[in-house]
Amino acid sequence: MDKLICKCGHENPPGTVLCESCGRPLNEQEQNKKLADMRYEGTARRSQTYNKSIIDKIWNFFSSVKVGVGIIIVLLIAAALGTILPQKQYVPATTDAAIEAYYTDIYGSVGTVYHALGFHDLYNSFWFIGLVGMLAISLIIASLDRFVPLYKSLKNQRVLRHSSFMRKQRILAEGPGDADTLKKAEEKLTDLKYKVSTDKNGLLAEKGRFSRWGPYVNHIGLIIFLFGVMLRMMPGFYVDETLWIREGETRAIPDAPGYVLESKGFTLETYTGEGEEEKFGEAIDRVGTVAKNYQTDVVLYKIPEGALPGDTADMEMVEEHAIRVNQPFKFDGYALYQMDFQQDELKTMSFALQNKETGESRGDLTIDLVNPETNYELEDGSVVELLGYYPDFSGFENGEPQTATPLPKNPGFLVKMTTPDTPDGETSFITIQNTVEPLGDNDYKLAFQGVETRDASGLTVRKDRTLPILGLGGLIFMIGVAQGMYFNHRRFWIQQQADGSILLAGHTNKNWFGLKKDLDQVTDHASLPAYRDQQEDMEAQEKREGEQLT
């Protein structure tokens, strides 16, 4: 494409609508318009200018606002579809295969397709991230393509514009003027905080140009925000893990290298309805129990610098802390939240070694279900030897007792009981409410006496190093919005012709009412000719024509 040479002699880049120098319309379409298209000051959007190499073609694709809006619509539809079936974290399955099977089992072929397309984990599916990335590219390229020419054009704008440019502005005034009209107008406009520049017989008054950068600042904010979201996927920036810890346990904190947590105990308090809480009595009677406090008392340890995982000998205590709902324990960028609990898990079981016939006891023993011992010595040289322990007994396989989980939910014990009466020992397999005597009838049994329980706390481990970036992005976004919304870029061009008559044009990117108010004051002060609003005139005329037709 060739340069467009204006009548005034200025060379404009191809695609320009209004001459960069004098403002004359450069194509027939623009010449026939009653009002000039002032978006981007009539400059050529750069992508429209060149369209040769493959790079240019890609660039042009992303430069289009239509493409940007299209991507947003596709994202919206995808996000909406993602809410139709539950996301994978709300599905009662943990392994990938089980999750896949779940969608097929519950939702049939729809579920299979849903899973195959990645809708079950939408925000992590490659095509969704790809689309968000394309939106980011579109934001950056579309902004660059518009901002650069607009910036150049406003920076290099001339004071004197061709009369055809001025007559195509919405606010227009023509009429006789005095010798000091321009001077007085300049006075008043400066008074109104306009920046005034003059050239020969004309002046240009401008105010609030920075309002034109609002959309671009806004986009910078969005890009920073998206960058923050992208960082979340990088290791070390974002942690959201669950830690189940039981009373008395010491556990490494997931994704918090070097930190170890010990649970001292879990407390669930309820309102009693007595004393000061008497006023809640009625409510408590109505709904039963009402929780007052969920709390886990913990001790935080740190493994010394240079020590390896598993080397807990030199752990240093950092802090004791009570974690309550909405009162997380914060340390070194991490936060531990009280999220869940499990009460009354078995901790120990007590038995009495009894003679089945006489009921005579040889003494009691307590088995620690978390860390059982092998031998339990009782009175008169009686011994109970633990041969096998199955914390969550789930049946036999090839004659071997199995455990389903490492948690003592349904403990099973294989024991050998030796007493002075039965010196060879008797073998028994004991589970809750059931005893099997695999090697024949026994004289002795372990009679269940009682249990001790403990609670488990479900904690959430959170770290989010991207929050400041997201905050910054949000702030810049809002600054951009305010900049574009609450400030206006107002301009007046005034020229005094050789015969003393005045030609005035006004333009603003928004809030024409405010522009007119400014102009009213200037007109008063400098006795300018009365102005008219060409767009309102046009609308009024169209209305009249419409009325005539009906």
Binding site: G133, I137, P235, T250, A252, P254, D255, P309, G310
Partner: protein, 183 residues
């Protein structure tokens, strides 16, 4: 404007646009790569250095991973409640007899169970390779182990050669040990 100037401008434009597009595409590509691989093992990938640790075995002996540099280490995470773990143990024991002399070490890391359970189990299956207990799950956390069994094959340079989740046959085990055998 002269044609040469014009050509230069065009060249610069193409370079500029290519660089911007390349940077953006690289950022998106990296994000997608991270999110797709994060599902499996969040921190560790094949080729990474295996995080060092020290754990104590049933005899009270300390095992430090870096002490086995120069040997292949077959690092198996397991628990007595995990069926496939139990099934592959005897196969591991018999391949250990073959490869121990060729410089492959097995470390079986039990996940936070009691001495009693682990000892009984080892005795029952006649396991003679070192079994260490990760009492506070710190090694499990460092290796980001999710499903059991998971086996990390560490080569003589101390790098992760392969990550195996799920049950292995005796043939698999022999093949893996061959992979990490020192030259």
């Amino acid at each position: 404007m002269s044609t040469e100037k014009k050509r230069n401008k065009k060249k610069n434009r193409t370079i500029m646009r290519s660089v911007i597009l390349l940077l953006l595409v690289a950022a998106i590509g990296y994000t997608i790569y991270n999110s797709v691989t994060a599902d499996e093992v969040e921190v560790l990938r094949v080729g990474d250095a295996a995080p060092d640790f020290t754990l104590t075995d049933l005899d009270g002996e300390t095992h430090k991973l870096s002490d086995y540099k120069g040997q292949g280490v077959f690092l198996n995470f397991w628990g007595t409640w995990c069926e496939p773990c139990i099934k592959e143990m005897p196969a591991m024991a018999s391949q250990y007899d073959v490869y121990e002399d060729q410089g492959v070490q097995i470390l079986a890391v039990n996940i936070a169970q009691s001495n009693f359970e682990v000892e009984t189990f080892a005795r029952q299956y006649g396991l003679d390779f070192p079994i260490v207990i990760d009492r506070d799950k710190s090694v499990m956390t460092a290796y980001n182990i999710r499903p059991l069994p998971t086996t990390m094959l560490v080569n003589p340079q101390g790098e992760i050669q392969r990550i195996v989740t799920g049950e292995m046959t005796e043939q698999d085990i022999a093949g893996f040990m061959e992979e990490i055998k020192p030259e």
